[in-house]
């Protein structure tokens, strides 16, 4: 019996990357899954967006683990879509216990160079989208009555300023305040709220030319290897990035009753960065 047997988890941004990894890890611990994703390109990002096929692949892998899964194309910028998708998932799977507000994007530019559209899209997805997700999910958590656990994907960038991603830093720092307030407001229902702050995670969001150039502005066409070498120096443990599974392990812990009195916390997955 897994430590999440009988529970239901909703995950945003579940089509690939960290979101898919979280979905599979929670399913492997026994949870049924509501997997949501926008499944389209995002205007302000330079990397390709997720697809309906990606989301279907996540679902297929969950089914291989013998868990139930409900998928929906839902955009965290649209409250109605989230509310409908989560409501449908809960009515099909019977309850809701765990919320992974994972969906997020990354784009780049110095604050004074960013277009207003780029700023607004970032805030609307990485901050407002988290709030919309928790707003839509919370009534179901309360109604399910088993307490609950909200896990918000923040970032190492929530802990200090980072050049060229000021809008991302603002959104990620904002979700820390959102998380802290949720943890107080929902504690009487035994619903916990925590955040995870990973350093660079090995996913499409960081493995792209635009991000390599961010770290290596003096090189014309930096490679993955050059990026790895440069970013390794920022981690006392000497690694370039962590894997999605490393973040999912923390999600599984925070989702489970093993952390039943941990709330209002952010867990750094930083390989010693910022010690």
């Amino acid at each position: 019996m897994g430590k999440l047997t009988g529970k239901v988890a909703v995950i945003t941004g579940a089509a690939r990357g960290q979101g898919r990894s979280h979905a599979l890890r929670l399913a492997s611990e026994g949870a049924d899954i509501i997997a949501l994703d926008v499944c389209e390109d995002i205007a302000s990002t330079s990397y390709t967006g997720s697809t309906a096929d990606d989301l279907a692949e996540t679902a297929a892998e969950i089914e291989k683990l013998d868990r139930r899964v409900v998928t929906a194309k839902a955009d965290v910028r649209n409250y109605e879509q989230l509310d409908t998708a989560i409501g449908k998932g809960v009515s099909e799977l019977g309850r809701l216990d765990i919320v992974c507000a994972n969906a997020g994007i990354l784009s780049m530019g110095q604050l004074h160079d960013l277009t207003e559209d780029s700023w607004l899209e970032m805030i609307d997805i990485n901050l407002n989208g988290v709030w919309r997700t928790t707003k839509a999910a919370t009534p179901h958590l309360i109604e399910s009555g088993g307490g609950g656990s909200i896990i918000i994907t923040a970032s190492g960038a929530a802990l200090h300023g980072v050049q060229n991603i000021g809008h991302y830093v603002a959104a990620k720092t904002g979700v820390i305040g959102l998380m802290r307030t949720l943890s107080i407001e929902l504690a009487p229902h035994r619903i916990r709220a925590n955040a995870i702050s990973p350093t660079n995670v090995n996913s499409d969001m960081i493995q792209n030319d635009a991000l390599y150039r961010l770290y290596l502005p003096h090189i014309e066409n930096p490679t993955r290897e050059q990026f790895a070498e440069a970013v390794s120096t920022t981690h006392p443990m000497g690694i370039p990035w962590v894997e999605p599974a490393d973040v999912s392990a923390v999600v599984a812990f925070l989702a489970s009753d093993e952390s039943r009195y941990i709330t209002g916390m952010q867990v750094p997955i930083m390989a010693g960065r910022d010690c």
Binding site: M1, G2, K3, E29, R180, S183, I184, A187, P188, R190, R192, T199, H235, P236, M237, G238, I239, V242, D246, A249, V250, A252, F253, S256, D257, E258, S259, R260, Y261, I262, T263, G264, M265, V267, P268, I269, M270, A271, G272, D274, C275
Partner: protein, 280 residues
């Protein structure tokens, strides 16, 4: 809480100080449940300024019996974390017997209570010696063995008092705040050896260190002989989650997580297990 799907510490050896009872025993037993062999250390007798009884060798044997009952090996040793030489001899012998060391849980801690200005020099010194210097000793003694194993995880049992102040506990608060600095520095210095260092910060835990007669009176000065039930509302009032204190196993679960490879890139972190105590 039942062990989870897989033994997360199978094949590892874990050291626990202050293992005779309370949190230390719980950590030792949880390590064993997850598949680890255990080095269980505690001291021989009480400490001058501490008014509640400390763990005894007989209680340490009971911890060992509980580990053995789970089918794991255990080596016990009587050693005082204030005495680095004594600790070195004990740890080196135990590690030789069990064949290595992978996890260190620096748990041994004491407290007493007095306003800072009324605190005796002995009260101050005993708490600093055990709670701060004792951890420094524990980690120094263990590091050569962790390096020999190619890496490892150090989990320091800190306290909510490592992150905020509590009346009548200036020595304890100072020692525990100091431990945050020690933990961070160790994480920085030992990262290249693949040794991770983190701390857990529990709110009040249901152990003899916290729920003894002196402590009960401290929180309910209006009652002559207050009971646990009398102080529970006082403690519940400071937590976001409606509980007065947490159980040792709740801390152990966080310790096991940080000790395991599930936390392989988490180092230098302070993890509260505080029912939301630190939020307001």
């Amino acid at each position: 809480m039942a062990p989870t799907t897989t033994a997360r510490l199978a094949g590892k050896v874990a050291l626990v100080t202050g293992a005779a009872r309370g949190q230390g025993r719980s950590h030792a037993v949880r390590f064993a449940e997850e598949g680890a062999d255990v080095v269980a250390i505690d001291l021989e007798h009480g400490i001058g300024s501490v008014r509640y009884p400390l763990g005894t060798p007989a209680e340490l044997e009971e911890t060992a019996a509980q580990v053995r009952a789970l089918g794991r090996r255990v080596v016990t040793a009587i050693a005082d974390v204030r005495d680095e030489k004594q600790l070195t001899v004990a740890v080196d012998a135990a590690v030789a017997e069990l064949g290595g060391l992978d996890v260190v849980c620096a748990n041994a801690g004491i407290t007493s209570a007095a306003p800072a200005t009324a605190m005796t020099a002995e009260q101050w010194r005993d708490v600093l010696d055990v709670n701060l210097t004792g951890v420094f000793h524990t980690v120094r003694v263990a590091v050569p063995h962790l390096r020999a194993a190619g890496g490892g995880s150090v989990v320091i049992v800190n306290s909510a008092a490592g992150l905020r102040a509590y009346r009548n506990l200036a020595h304890y608060t100072a020692a525990k705040h100091g431990l945050v600095g020690l933990m961070r520095n160790l994480a920085l210095e030992l990262g290249e050896d693949w040794i991770r260092v983190n701390s857990v910060h529990p709110t009040g835990v249901d152990t003899p260190m916290m729920l003894n007669d002196d402590a009960l009176r401290l929180y309910r000065p209006d009652l002559e002989n207050p009971t646990r039930d009398d102080v529970a509302p006082v403690f519940s009032g400071v937590h976001a989650l409606p509980v007065p204190w947490v159980e040792p196993v709740d801390v152990s679960n966080a310790v096991v997580f940080l000790a395991s490879d599930e936390a392989r890139y988490i180092t230098g972190a302070s993890l509260p297990v505080d029912a939301g105590r630190g939020l307001t």
